[in-house]
């Protein structure tokens, strides 16, 4: 097929018409992300968040993990490559590898093992990349939730999450469960799973299992958007860090770095 000059200009005109009608690629991307400025993108309702007190968390204790895993049927497989993680412990160095703890860690040392979980980000990358909307952010309380019925196991969310908070079921999870809690579903092979901030407990007016299971009171759950909440009082009184906040995800898990026992103000009863 050969074009003469006139046909070429006609085709150009039609193509330009389509161009004006459509959205710029830049606008499309901008609308999906909502920008990276957390302060500007605040939701006005409830925003559930958690404070983990590094000085209170005891070495070798796994009570928060045990309670969570028992309640949510989180399996423990023998091969670490099949590991399913809802709440787990990592060293402070691995959680905050950009921090030199010898210089600026305060009471917190690099070797200290601390619990970590899904950050229930204000601007969650896993939600943005999910092609089926199986992962979504609840508008009313900011929990990043998963609809396992919709998950197709593409693992984009695992690539998107900068915290490693998502795990893929390579094996049947029931193989790794010594005991099944019949009140909560298990997952099946081929879906991704993660912490749900105990949405099923919150619906009953209760609080997350990990908070309740901690004998030291190292975990505090609360509403970050409520200026009068205990959580905000603790955050106001103590220096805290969030994991990879500079990526713009707006994580909702805060780590206290000082020794809270040495201070009286802002302490938790």
């Amino acid at each position: 097929m050969s074009l003469n000059r006139k046909q070429f200009f006609k085709m150009g005109a039609v193509a330009a018409l389509f161009g004006f009608g459509g959205k710029k690629a830049v606008q499309l991307y901008a609308s999906s992300g909502g920008g990276h400025d957390e302060a500007k993108n605040k939701n006005t309702g409830v925003r559930h968040a958690m404070v983990i007190d590094s000085s209170k968390c005891k070495e070798g204790c796994t009570k928060c993990m045990d309670a969570c895993h028992m309640a949510h049927n989180v399996p423990s497989h023998s091969d670490p490559e099949d590991e399913i993680k809802w709440i787990w412990k990592e060293s402070a160095h691995d959680l905050f590898h950009e921090i030199d703890f010898a210089l600026q860690g305060g009471a917190l040392t690099a070797e200290k093992q601390l619990p970590t979980l899904c950050n229930h980000c204000a601007n969650p990358p896993c939600v943005r990349v999910c092609p089926t909307q199986a992962t979504f952010k609840r508008k009313e309380d900011g929990i990043v939730m998963m609809d396992y019925h919709r998950c197709i196991g593409c693992r984009f969310c695992m690539a998107g999450c900068p915290y490693g908070s998502r795990s893929f079921n390579y094996r049947d999870p029931r193989e790794g469960l010594a005991k099944i809690n019949p009140k909560f579903p298990t997952r099946k092979t081929g879906v991704v799973e993660k912490c749900n901030f105990c949405a099923e407990e919150l619906a009953k007016g209760k609080r997350p299992h990990c908070e309740g299971a901690c004998p030291e009171g190292a975990i505090l759950f609360g509403n970050l958007n409520d200026p009068d909440s205990k959580l905000r009082a603790v955050l106001a009184a103590n220096p805290s860090m969030r994991r990879k906040a500079e990526t713009g995800t707006g994580p909702s898990i805060f780590y206290l770095t000082n020794d809270t026992d040495k201070k009286s103000k802002g302490g938790r009863s």
Binding site: R174, A178, T186, A199
Partner: protein, 148 residues
């Protein structure tokens, strides 16, 4: 056309054979309507039919025809909309939960053997595969997990 009579007879015989399910349903005395059909099937399978009066969330006819729609609505309500309370036609409220509400009554039938399990009895007979219990836990699944 050659062999007109045999060709047309052949076509008619083929159509009659292909339409067997349709005319068999019409002339069969036991399958007068869908309602009686499922009732007979349910009775043959020994399925519990108490209806809303007997404690079920809705009446037997409703459950028989719309339980799958109801469960799908519940699923989206609970997971996506955080709406966990169901109010039935009689104003009674129930937790929207397959395991905690439905199986609370329906699990005990059939001695907990998976082939006798309430849902499976009809679904097997009807040839409908359900995958609810790959994740949701019946007492049978709990047993298989080596628990309790």
């Amino acid at each position: 056309m050659h062999n007109k009579t045999s060709v047309i007879t052949g076509i008619l015989l083929f159509l009659a054979a292909a339409a067997f399910p349709v005319w068999n349903n019409i002339i069969s005395p036991t399958n007068k309507s869908m309602a009686t059909n499922t009732t007979t099937a349910a009775q043959n399978l020994g399925v519990q039919e108490e209806g809303a009066e007997g404690g079920c969330i809705e009446d037997t006819d409703f459950m028989r025809q719309k339980h799958m729609l109801l469960l799908h609505t519940w699923r989206d309500d609970v997971v996506r909309n955080n709406n966990r309370v169901y109010t039935n036609a009689h104003g009674k409220t129930f937790e929207k939960s397959l395991v905690n509400t439905c199986l609370g009554c329906h699990e005990d039938q059939g001695q907990n053997k998976s082939e006798n399990f309430f849902c499976e009895r009809c679904h097997k007979s009807a040839g409908v595969r359900i995958d609810c219990f790959q994740c949701h836990t019946s007492a049978e699944a709990v047993k298989m997990g080596g628990a309790q």
